[in-house]
């Protein structure tokens, strides 16, 4: 692991000097700002049941669908397309270190972007001067949920990037996988054919993997270790698949 920090600082530096990072960050904040403004407008018209933070984080899947593919599609696909993976892997660096370095860098950027939205709540707090608007429970729960679920989402993106040398393909693949993970689980749960007796265990598994359910729990302040385990274990799995993906491509290059 001695090269992990070298690779991580290299990746972070590359992200910081690249204009696309700033464009993506600006677009993200503008988008989230619009959502937040919309939420505030609806609150100013009529009293609502939930706190603004709750509604705001409920829409977490919108930025996830476009930000995660954009952040991760480049990481391994670009290395392979340029051929720099060959120079990288012929130094005393293991594939694991390379994948983890890129994963950690993308995750750091993801967290930074989300934490920037904290500014919205600060402004609300500053000018509304009403403690009811800033219910710290859902706010902290929401950020915790974003941080924990981000582990898995970014790992899925890295995995998609390890499968293709084309960034666009990797991006679309990542989007599809995230869509299946977040929305697909919801559809499956509602579908009728899972209600049969034989499929009870499948139904239980689908319910366990409901990302919206996890979100609800987190914002209500319930941090369930089973859910944490779900995210940590599937993150590890996705990363192992990414490492295998990179190595399998070498064997068949």
């Amino acid at each position: 692991m001695r090269h992990f920090f070298t690779l991580l600082s290299h990746e972070l530096r590359m992200l910081l000097v690249s204009p696309s990072t700033y464009i993506a960050a600006t677009a993200f904040l503008v988008f989230m700002g619009f959502i937040f403004t919309g939420i505030l407008e609806s609150y100013s018209r009529a009293p609502q049941e939930n706190s603004p933070a709750h509604v705001f984080f409920q829409l977490f899947w919108l930025p996830v669908f476009f930000m995660v593919p954009l952040l991760t599609m480049k990481c391994l696909a670009e290395e392979r397309r340029l051929g720099t993976i060959e120079t990288l892997l012929t130094t005393p660096v293991t594939t694991t270190e390379v994948v983890l370095g890129k994963y950690a860098a993308a995750y750091c950027l993801y967290l930074t972007l989300w934490s920037a939205t904290g500014g919205f709540f600060w402004i609300l707090h500053r000018f509304a001067s009403d403690a009811r608007f800033l219910d710290s429970g859902p706010l902290l729960g929401g950020y915790l949920f974003v941080a924990v679920s981000g582990l898995l989402f970014i790992a899925v993106g890295v995995f998609a990037s390890s499968l293709s040398r084309n960034q666009a393909v990797a991006g679309i693949l990542c989007f599809t996988m995230l869509f299946a993970l977040i929305i697909g689980g919801r559809f499956l749960q509602d579908s009728q054919w899972l209600d049969r007796e034989v499929l009870q265990s499948v139904k239980a598994a689908v319910e366990y993997a409901q990302i919206f359910r996890h979100y609800e729990d987190f914002t209500r302040g319930v941090v369930d270790t089973r859910q944490l385990l779900f995210y940590f274990s599937s993150t590890v799995l996705a990363l192992i698949f990414s490492i295998l993906g990179v190595e399998a491509k070498l064997l068949h290059s």
Binding site: R2, H3, T6, L7, H10, R13, M14, V17, S18, L82, G83, T84, E86, T87, L88, L89, T90, T91, P92, V93, T94, L250, L251, H252, S253
Partner: protein, 329 residues
């Protein structure tokens, strides 16, 4: 160190790509400090062999060891012993030259304190000082190539593997690279592949010619010339009565033959091409015999077959070999 293992040892290396035999039973050894030139037409298996040497690709069968460390079982040890410059020299587009060297140096485990001076040294060696703060993506082809070469020698590894290092360089830069590689002789073991044959001939101690995944010839450039072409040839420009010539040639050396005669030029001189199986210098006796026979000799020279002739002859010969039985092993 008389009992030190050879820098590179390859025995019965085979690599299959989905049924296509890219490398077919290659064996060679390279002592420390030697420079090996790797020659072969496109698709002969040069790059594949080099990638297997670096541990980047696994071999189908066979044994490869770098400084006594088997590549298959100790890839980490091997990666610390090599500097590798791949084909087409891939470089990150959006880094500065010095940043890139710093990053690579850290990856290659050069201590932080030594890295700065070493980068300066390498930049100086490869004449890159002027561009050290430029972005790699904006450099010209020659500079990029030199960045790749400099990077491969950055950590001073005992074995350097370069896949076509001089491609895209102008003659002046080729000269710099040649001097650079020559300066490594004795300290580092170098394998370079190239299409530029005079280049290989001038820098390399030994040459390995491969074709269709097999070694078709190996040895020093001089050995190869003798082995593949098997004879010396002479050219003489002579005027006079040539009817007695075959008899005269037999006097000089029994195997000396007249291979070709050109049309006489306006002054009456014809150019003769003579071939012999003998290796000794026949210039002087030949000149004497021709003069004694009353022929006027204007020029006599011993033709020096270049590595290019050897290469063409060797690869053509192996095509012939391969064309009759397609499956030998």
């Amino acid at each position: 160190m008389p009992d030190a293992p050879p820098a590179i040892e390859v025995s019965h290396l085979v690599k299959n790509y989905a049924g296509v035999m890219a490398v077919n039973d290659i064996s060679f050894r390279l002592a420390r400090g030697e420079i090996l030139g790797f020659l072969g037409p496109n698709g002969a298996g040069k790059s594949t062999t080099m990638r297997i040497l670096t541990g980047y690709l696994p071999a189908t069968s066979g044994h490869v060891a770098i400084c006594g460390h088997p590549v298959a079982s100790q890839p980490d040890a091997v990666k610390r012993l090599i500097g590798y410059m791949p084909e087409n020299n891939p470089l990150p587009e959006d880094m500065r030259v010095s940043e890139y060297f710093y990053f690579r140096g850290r990856l290659k485990e050069i201590p932080r304190g030594k890295l700065g001076p070493r980068i300066d040294e390498v930049l100086e060696l490869c004449d890159l000082k002027r561009v050290r703060h430029k972005i790699i993506g904006k450099l010209s082809k020659g500079f990029r190539q030199r960045v790749g070469i400099a990077e491969s020698i950055l950590a001073e590894p005992p074995v350097i593997i370069m896949d076509e290092p001089t491609i895209g360089l102008d003659p002046h830069q080729i000269l710099i690279v040649r001097d650079l590689i020559a300066s490594l002789r004795g300290r580092m073991t170098v394998i370079i592949s190239s299409h530029i044959l005079p280049e290989i001939e001038m820098t390399c101690d030994r040459v390995l010619i491969i074709n269709q995944g097999r070694v078709v010839a190996q040895g020093t450039p001089a050995d190869l010339r003798r082995e593949i072409l098997g004879r010396s040839s002479y050219q003489a420009e002579v005027a006079g009565d040539l009817t007695t010539l075959p008899a005269l040639l037999a006097v000089v050396e029994p195997s000396l033959r007249l291979a070709d005669t050109s049309e006489p030029d306006p002054l009456g001189f014809v150019t003769l091409t003579l071939t012999t199986a003998s290796d000794t210098a026949l210039g002087e006796p030949l000149l004497r015999v021709l003069a004694d026979a009353g022929l006027r000799v204007r020029a006599l020279s011993r033709a020096h077959p270049t590595l290019e002739d050897v290469f063409l002859a060797a690869t053509r010969r192996s095509w012939d070999v391969r064309s009759d039985p397609p499956r030998k092993n």
